[in-house]
Symmetry: C3
Subunit: 138 residues, 3 copies
């Protein structure tokens, strides 16, 4: 059995949005018991991460780290069509993930206790981000 | 339904090669309508990336960034059997991706408008790189 | 056909453990000939990597590189509930992989000659790490 669904997230600019619940809903719709859930973001300046979900400081520290590692407006960048955060957003996306594969067991996402699924917006302004979810199994 | 095929790319040294068309061909061969396409590179010094496909400067900037982040011949590296670009190629591969999972909808890759699939050669000399594609769905 | 199994690895602190054999065993149990093997780690401070498997210096150099890129106890980190290696472990996990998808051909993992599958422990103390493997195909 294979099942696809999609949703759009309106981000509020750079930062992480928890989408674990949205994905679990699609797993429930599929009524599969055992399988995999593939989550795909159809963009190159926003990405997906599995991140610790208990302490918001973890997401804050990740953002601080990424902001230092990949500097907006770095003078080595030639591509700046959409501004100082354009090229840095592409690199941040590549260093994290455009898709995640999550196991399904007993009819639910089989995540670890502290794992949450986050959409990570890398542009500083709000964007509509399209997520395509493919669930398969039995 | 599950279907496997493979192809080899002769790279011209460090840099990115667009393989989106090669992968779409395999999806077409499979005649699947809904599913996933798994692309796997059987090497540890070349990798795969989903990257912006409109402005070549994006790939240039990504390469400049990676070259600064992971320095060839970094004195901290002990492994240099195949030269100054040997260990840096392994690290670049790990920071990017060895496999990609791409959704298939309506019989085609369901990529975003600006997403291209690239083989990223990290060695400075040309290599033959083997890609194994597994397509499944209905 | 879809098949799930799991195992736990007791790590000895920061570093890499080869789990290729454990995963190949599960592929053999499944008796599948063609498909994919999804390996998932249910933690956010340990991860998975596909890495060169011939020269142990490669894993040593990767660790040296990661230790310099993501500093334990970096003063920019606010999250330090479990110590100086807590936040750095989360970032190292995100820069590497929480899951791997490996192709199966002719009844075995279709890895390249030099590719090994490693559990990468990022905490300095030993931990029990749970791995969930989902194999599917025909």
């Amino acid at each position: 059995m294979i099942f696809q669904n999609n949703f759009t997230v309106r981000t509020t600019g750079r930062g992480m949005t928890d989408i674990t619940g949205r994905i679990e809903e699609i797993v429930q719709q599929s009524v599969l018991r055992t399988g995999l859930c593939h989550v795909f973001i159809q963009h190159t300046s926003a990405s997906l991460v599995l991140c610790e979900n208990a302490d918001p400081a973890v997401r804050g520290d990740l953002e601080t780290f990424m902001g230092r590692l990949v500097k907006d407006g770095d003078p080595i960048f030639r591509h700046d069509t959409e501004g100082r955060d354009d090229m840095s957003a592409h690199i941040r996306s590549i260093l994290t993930d455009s898709s995640l594969n999550l196991p399904i067991s007993n009819g639910s996402l089989a995540l670890g206790t502290w794992q949450g699924v986050y959409l990570y917006e890398h542009r500083t302004s709000p964007h509509d981000r399209h997520i395509l979810v493919t669930v398969f199994g039995k």
